[in-house]
């Protein structure tokens, strides 16, 4: 459970799910329940839900290539001070620095490519690890 002491880091929970968007709702529900219990604002809750959905969508579609036989591992720790969420897929990874800016005029009318940008815009920290197979999202409760 999340700690009530802001100086004490919350323990990490771990959920392993099949690689589908439907299955991805389970960790989302759990994480948002912790977020609510810890008293995060509506804005922070919206931001976390958005970033988490973008990370899960990337893991399902791009990382695991829509292969429902693959798995996604979600680890998270939520306390009253901050939420840390780590999403890992079983894909081959990617170079996040090579993802083009979707707000560029020549890319604005493309239907895809906004996920990473939204994660960065709405979270306090977004880190890609393990050759891009893992993303770590951090949101501070302010």
């Amino acid at each position: 459970m999340a700690s009530s002491d802001p100086n004490k880091a919350a323990a990490f929970h771990e959920i392993d799910i099949p690689s589908t968007l439907d299955a991805a709702k389970k960790p989302e529900r759990e994480i948002l329940r912790h977020i609510e219990l810890c008293g995060y604002s509506e804005e922070a809750s919206f931001a976390i839900k958005l970033a988490l959905e973008e990370a899960m969508t990337n893991a399902v579609k791009h990382g695991n290539g829509n292969d429902a036989n693959k798995r996604i591992k979600v680890r998270y720790a939520v306390d009253p001070a901050r939420a840390v969420i780590i999403v890992r897929d079983e894909g081959g990874g990617f170079c996040h620095q090579s993802v083009p800016d979707p707000t560029r005029p020549d890319r604005l009318t493309l239907p895809t490519g906004r996920g990473i940008m939204l994660m960065r815009a709405y979270m306090d920290e977004v880190k890609f690890e393990a050759d891009g197979t893992e993303v770590c999202l951090v949101k501070l409760n302010r």
Binding site: L50, L108, T109, R114, G115
Partner: protein, 117 residues
Amino acid sequence: MNATDALTISTTQKGNGVVVQLVGSASMELCDRLNEALYAACESRPRVLVVDLSRLDFICSLGLGGLVAAYLRVQKYGGALLLASPAESIREMLQVTKLGQILPMFDTPAEALASIS
């Protein structure tokens, strides 16, 4: 923010236009339905396609992509896609992604329809 999401989509013909109202949450697992509904709304080639966002509380990038795909479809035959009354959180997303530059926003569906005479 609710994680048990539902999305209701209704499509109404209004003169030369079509209004698609989205109610609930355009979450990742629901966006295929949203995109199919927008695709179907374009089939009659309405002069203006208005997407009423007044009762939508969440949209992810897949949903935004659906709006962009519909925008491209109506633009191809000379129509227009307009947005009506997005919540503040969604308006902010449209600004962050700069999609507000290509998807004009109006206070009400009626105003959006009236803008294309």
